[in-house]
C-alpha cells in the first residue's frame, strides 16, 4: 500500500511537471505569435513598433500577435540569456554592441542575408559597411544594426553661463574645443555652481567601456583590433587615464566615485552620452546644446554605440521572425525608426532627412555629431566573452579611482588580469 501511494504521489508530481513543460509547443505551421525583447520601455518607441507590427499583421493573417517585451537595460543581456537557457527564447531580440561578438559567433542567431536580400524593395546595398561590420561573420549578416548612435556632449547652457565658464559653442567657434578646455569649463561649473561639471553617463566607476569616449581621443584602445593584445598598458592609454585621473581628483571636473549626478535632472554642466538620449530633453526647462566630443591629442574623433536586432535560432518561428524583421527594417520603416535610432542606410544619413524626424536637434548638430560620427566612429570596445572580460577590467581598474593611485601600475595590473582571457 505504502509503495502504491508513493507511486501515486510521484505520478502526480510528474504530471505536474509535464504540464509545466508541455505547453506552448506549437509548430510553425499554425497561427504564429512573435515576441521581440528590447531594452527600451520608452512609450514613443513602443508605440511606433506597435504601429509597424499592426501594418505587418494586416497583410500577414497567419501572424496573430507581435509583442515587444522591454527588459531593464542594466540586466538586459543577462535576462535574455536566462530566457534562452530556460527554454523561453524570444523570436527576435535587440543585442547590445558589447554582446554582439558572443551572439554572432556562437550561432545563436539566424543569418539574415537571404531573407533581407530576397525581400522586394529592401535595398540591402544601402546598409553602410561601417555599421554592419560588427554583426557579420564569414561574410554573413547575423544582426541588423538598427541603431548606430554616436556619442556627443550635451551641455546645460544655463549652468555653464551661471558659472561664467567658456561654453563649448564658443570654444568650437574659436577652434579650441579640445579636452583641456572642456575640462577647464567643467571644473569651473563644478566649483562655481556646486553641481557636477562633466558626467560620463553610465560609467559610474563601473561601466568602464564608456570611457572609450575619452581615451579614443588619445588613440588608445582597450585591446587590439584582433582582440588578442591588451591595450591598457600602452603609453597612449596611460596618458589618457592620467589626464582623466587628474580631471577627477585634481580639477574636480568629474564627480568622484560614489557620487551620483544626473545631467537630465539638471545636476551637471555637461554629459557624454549617445544622441539617442536627446528625447530625455523634450520637457526640459534648462537651455541645452549638443556638441561633438572635444579633440584629443590625436585630433578629432568620434565613438559610436550600436544596437542590433537578430532572430534567435532557438525561437519557435525563426522564418516568420526573419520575415517580420525584413519588414520592420525596410526603407520605409527605417525612415520611421530614424527619429529615435540613427539608421544604417546611406540615403537616410543626410542632415535634411534626419532633421525631419529629429525636431530637437539642429541640422548642424546632426551633421557634426550624427553623420560625421557614424562615418568615422570607433565602436565601443567589444570582444567575445565580453561579460567576463568586462568584470575583470572593472575589478582591476578599481584601485585607479583613488586620489593617490599609481596610474601606470594599475593599468599594468589590468593587462595581467585580462591577458589570460584575451588569449582564449
Amino acid at each position: 500500500m505504502k509503495t502504491r501511494l508513493t507511486a501515486v504521489v510521484a505520478l502526480t508530481a510528474l504530471l505536474g511537471l509535464s504540464a509545466c513543460g508541455g505547453g506552448d509547443s506549437g509548430g510553425s505551421d499554425g497561427p504564429v505569435s512573435l515576441r521581440m525583447t528590447t531594452w527600451s520601455a520608452n512609450e514613443a518607441h513602443l508605440k511606433l513598433f506597435d504601429e509597424i507590427a499592426a501594418e505587418y499583421r494586416a497583410t500577414h493573417p497567419d501572424v496573430t500577435a507581435i509583442t515587444f517585451d522591454p527588459i531593464l537595460f542594466e540586466s538586459y543581456t543577462t535576462t535574455l540569456t536566462t530566457q534562452i537557457a530556460g527554454g523561453n527564447p524570444p523570436d527576435l531580440a535587440w543585442v547590445l554592441e558589447n554582446a554582439a561578438p558572443d551572439f554572432v559567433s556562437s550561432g545563436a542567431l539566424v543569418p539574415l542575408d537571404s531573407t533581407l536580400k530576397g525581400t522586394d524593395g529592401y535595398n540591402f546595398d544601402e546598409l553602410t559597411p561601417a555599421a554592419t561590420k560588427l554583426w557579420q561573420r564569414d561574410g554573413k549578416l547575423y544582426g541588423y544594426p538598427f541603431s548606430t548612435s554616436p556619442f556627443g556632449i550635451f551641455v546645460n547652457t544655463d549652468l555653464v553661463k551661471a558659472a561664467g565658464a567658456k561654453s563649448p559653442a564658443e570654444l568650437i567657434a574659436a577652434g579650441t574645443w579640445n579636452w583641456d578646455n572642456a575640462i577647464a569649463t567643467a571644473s569651473t561649473v563644478a566649483s562655481k555652481t556646486g553641481k557636477a561639471g562633466l558626467v560620463v553617463r553610465d560609467f559610474d566607476y563601473k561601466g568602464w567601456d564608456n570611457l572609450s569616449t575619452v581615451w579614443t581621443g588619445w588613440g588608445a584602445q582597450a585591446w587590439s583590433a584582433d582582440g588578442k593584445t591588451c591595450g591598457f598598458d600602452a603609453p597612449e592609454m596611460v596618458e589618457a587615464m592620467t589626464f582623466l585621473h587628474d580631471a577627477i581628483f585634481t580639477a574636480k571636473a568629474l564627480p568622484g566615485p560614489g557620487t551620483a549626478a544626473d545631467f537630465f535632472a539638471g545636476e551637471a554642466g555637461m554629459t557624454i552620452t549617445q544622441i539617442s538620449r536627446a528625447s530625455l530633453l523634450e520637457k526640459q526647462t534648462f537651455g541645452w546644446d549638443l556638441v561633438p566630443l572635444p579633440a584629443g591629442p590625436k585630433g578629432d574623433y568620434s565613438v559610436i554605440g550600436q544596437g542590433g536586432m537578430g532572430v534567435l535560432k532557438k525561437g519557435k518561428h525563426a522564418d516568420a521572425a526573419a520575415d517580420f524583421l525584413a519588414y520592420l527594417t525596410n526603407p520605409t520603416n527605417s525612415a520611421k525608426l530614424a527619429q529615435f535610432f540613427p539608421p544604417p542606410r546611406t540615403p537616410l544619413l543626410t542632415a535634411e532627412t534626419l532633421a525631419k524626424t529629429n525636431p530637437l536637434l539642429k541640422p548642424e548638430q546632426l551633421q557634426q555629431v550624427v553623420i560625421d560620427g557614424i562615418a568615422n566612429g570607433v565602436v565601443k570596445p567589444s570582444h567575445s566573452g565580453q561579460a567576463e572580460l568586462s568584470q575583470a577590467v572593472r575589478a582591476a581598474l578599481d584601485p585607479l579611482w583613488k586620489a593617490d593611485a599609481d596610474v601606470k601600475g594599475v593599468l599594468d595590473g589590468v593587462c595581467s588580469a585580462i591577458n589570460p582571457l584575451l588569449g582564449k
Binding site: G16, T81, P257, T259
Partner: protein, 320 residues
C-alpha cells in the same frame, strides 16, 4: 454485517460482527489506512512543491555541474568531473571564499550580538518598549531591494551617512568604494534589516525563563552578569542554536545586497560565493561551472548546519 460504530476519537470500527465472515473487499480499508491517506492528502501539496521546487532543481544542479552548457551556442556536453577540477584550480575561488567567510562571520557575530542585546534591553518592564520593539522589527517587513537601494544612496560619498558625520565634524569615508568599508557597509545594512527577527525570537525565549530562578539567584547574591551567564544564556540556548543556524545559512546566501550596493567590488572585495556563481552562470553564460559552485555552496551550508547540530549537545541546555 460489520459493526460500524464511531468512537469518541472519530475512528470507525470495521471489525466484523461475531459469527460473520469478514468480506474480502473491505478488509484492507482499515481506519489506520484511512488516516494514512488523509494525512498523505494533507501533505501532498507541500510534497509536490518541495519535489518540484527543491528536490528536482537540486538534482538538476548536480546533473548540470557535470556538463559544459553554453546557452548561446546551444551546446550541452557531458564533461564528467571537469568542472570540479576547474573549481579546485580556480584562482578566484580563495578570495571569494575569504570574502564569504568575512561576511558570514561579521554578520553572525553582529546580528546575534545586537539581537540579544536589544532583546535583553526591551525585555525590561519599562514604558515605551513596545514602540522600540516595533521600530527595530519594522525593517524585517520592508522589501529587501528597496531597503538596499535607499542605503545605497545614504552610503554615497555625499550621501546621508557622511552628511550626519559632517554635522559632528567627522569626515566620513567613501563607504562603498573602500575594500573594508564596503564589506562593513554590506554587513551593517543586512544586520539592521534582519536583526529585528532574531530580536523577537530572543524576546520570546527570554520571556520563557522562569522569574523565580532570577529571584533565587539574587537571594544567593549573584550579580546581574552572573545571572545572565548562568541562567539566561543556558535557558535560551535552544533559541541561540536556532537563530545561529538560520543566520549562518542566510549569510552564506547573501545576494541582493551585494548586487545592488557593490556588484562585488571594489576589486573583488565583496564578491561572495552566491554573487560569484551568479556571475559565472548568468553573466558569463557558464551554467555548468555555475552549477558546480552551487553544489559547493550546498555542501558548505550542509556541513556547517550539521556541525552546529552535532555541537548542540555540548552547549545547548534543556533540549527537548
Amino acid at each position: 454485517m460489520p459493526v460500524l460504530t464511531d468512537d469518541a476519537a472519530g475512528r470507525v470500527d470495521t471489525r466484523p460482527a461475531p459469527g460473520e465472515n469478514p468480506p474480502q473487499r473491505r478488509a484492507w480499508w482499515t481506519s489506520r489506512r484511512r488516516d494514512q491517506l488523509a494525512g498523505l492528502l494533507f501533505v501532498t501539496p507541500q510534497l509536490v512543491g518541495t519535489a518540484l521546487f527543491v528536490l528536482l532543481p537540486l538534482g538538476l544542479v548536480v546533473w548540470y555541474s557535470l556538463h559544459e552548457w553554453n546557452v548561446l551556442a546551444d551546446t550541452f556536453d557531458f564533461v564528467g568531473t571537469d568542472n570540479y577540477r576547474k573549481l579546485v584550480d580556480d584562482p578566484n575561488l580563495p578570495s571569494v571564499l575569504r570574502s564569504t567567510a568575512y561576511f558570514s562571520v561579521g554578520l553572525v557575530v553582529l546580528n546575534l550580538g545586537l539581537a540579544l542585546l536589544l532583546a535583553v534591553l526591551l525585555n525590561q518592564k519599562l514604558r515605551g518598549t513596545v514602540v522600540f520593539r516595533t521600530l527595530f522589527f519594522s525593517p524585517v517587513v520592508v522589501s529587501l531591494v528597496a531597503w538596499t537601494i535607499v542605503w545605497g544612496f545614504l552610503l554615497q560619498d555625499n550621501g546621508g551617512v557622511n552628511g550626519v558625520a559632517g554635522m559632528v565634524g567627522a569626515d566620513g569615508p567613501n563607504w562603498l568604494r573602500g575594500e573594508w568599508t564596503a564589506m562593513l557597509s554590506v554587513i551593517v545594512v543586512q544586520v539592521v534589516k534582519n536583526v529585528g527577527l532574531n530580536m523577537v525570537l530572543f524576546l520570546a525565549a527570554l520571556q520563557g525563563v522562569p522569574a523565580e530562578l532570577y529571584e533565587a539567584a539574587r537571594v544567593e547574591g549573584a550579580s546581574r552578569w552572573t545571572q545572565f551567564r548562568r541562567i539566561t544564556v543556558p535557558l535560551i540556548s535552544p533559541t541561540i542554536l536556532l537563530t545561529s543556524i538560520i543566520t549562518v545559512a542566510g549569510a552564506l546566501q547573501v545576494f541582493a545586497q551585494i548586487a545592488v550596493l557593490t556588484q562585488g567590488g571594489p576589486g573583488t572585495s565583496t564578491t561572495v560565493l552566491v554573487y560569484y556563481l551568479y556571475q559565472q552562470a548568468f553573466q558569463f553564460h557558464q551554467f555548468g561551472y555555475g552549477s558546480t559552485l552551487s553544489v559547493l555552496l550546498f555542501a558548505i551550508v550542509l556541513t556547517l548546519t550539521v556541525v552546529q547540530w552535532r555541537m548542540r549537545r555540548r552547549w545547548v541546555f534543556h533540549e527537548q
